[in-house]
Amino acid sequence: MEPAPNREIADMAGAAALPRKNGELVFDEAWQGRIFGMTVAMSHEACFEWREFQAQLIAEIAHAEREGESTSYYERWLHAFEQLLADKGLLDSGALVERTRDFENGRRDDVF
């Protein structure tokens, strides 16, 4: 069976609340679903507590709004997730830049 949605995640309130349409989650593009799923998966694996990520996300949204950035909700989510992973020593930002370039120029094309 599918894992049951966790209310702590689904019911986030305020600026951190998940974008919805007619009560359903909305992922406008596939990558938004992937980043959402990765974040939830890593919290299941106890890489971090959900509330740690939520606090990071709230801070990221506040920062973006202060700076007047027009970034989307899931773009801010991505930044928050990267920052949390970096803080936990789980992600090397240099490696991410390099790997992104590999996908961009077609050196890699893993299918997810």
Binding site: R34, G37, R99
Partner: protein
């Protein structure tokens, strides 16, 4: 839904956004480090997309529309009938909209709601304004939601409680005779199962 991301990888599509590339790179790194399994991500996205939302309730409604026997069982004993479809965990009474009778669900005390069937309650459902006005002036509230009922239509208000939840069985829209049960389910919205909307026939563009 596992299929949604597959079209990413094909070469013949338009250039991928930098954000999409970055997320793929991130997933690739995290999978390599065994911090994430792509199958787990698939399952989570599917669960959140499908389990939270009105899908389950829409399936119940569509079944009742195509199967008169099921409709009867659903109206007689909602709790047992939704268990037939694998949904449960809630004592449910289903109330049917018919010509001349419109049903509206509210929870005047808090925000009791059949989550298992229609997901999370919208913000307005929890608001003091809706909880008080739905009972006092339902016709006005419905008009604000875009449902303009003739004066002759009786409006029945169902006040949910922790013990018993209500679900509206909306009227099947005209012109949907040829649709399959699954197609019908896609027409059924959350709001129509609360009673603040009617189910619309599919638009020409969507067909």
């Amino acid at each position: 839904m596992s299929g949604t991301h597959d079209d990413h990888a094909h070469h013949h599509r338009e250039p991928e956004s930098i954000l999409s590339l970055r997320v793929r790179a991130l997933e690739s790194l995290l999978v390599e480090k065994k911090l994430v399994a792509s199958e787990a991500v698939d399952r989570i996205v599917g669960a959140y997309e499908q389990d939270i939302g009105p899908h389950n309730g829409a399936k119940v409604v569509a079944r009742a529309w195509v199967d008169p026997g099921y409709r009867e069982r659903l109206l007689a004993d909602g709790t047992a009938a939704i268990e037939e479809l694998g949904f449960g965990g809630v004592d449910l009474q289903v109330v049917e909209n018919i010509p001349g009778v419109h049903n509206l669900v509210v929870c005047t005390l808090c925000s009791c709601y059949p989550h298992a069937l229609i997901g999370l309650p919208p913000v307005w459902y929890k608001s003091f304004e809706y909880r008080s006005r739905a009972v006092r002036e339902p016709r006005v509230v419905l008009r604000e939601f875009g449902v303009d009922l003739p004066e002759s239509t009786e409006i029945r208000i169902w006040d949910s409680s922790a013990e018993l939840r209500y679900l509206v069985l909306p009227e099947r829209p005209a012109g949907t005779e040829r649709l399959s049960e699954a197609e019908l389910a896609t027409l059924v919205t959350r709001d129509s199962m609360i009673g603040v909307a009617v189910v619309q026939p599919p638009t020409a563009a969507a067909r």
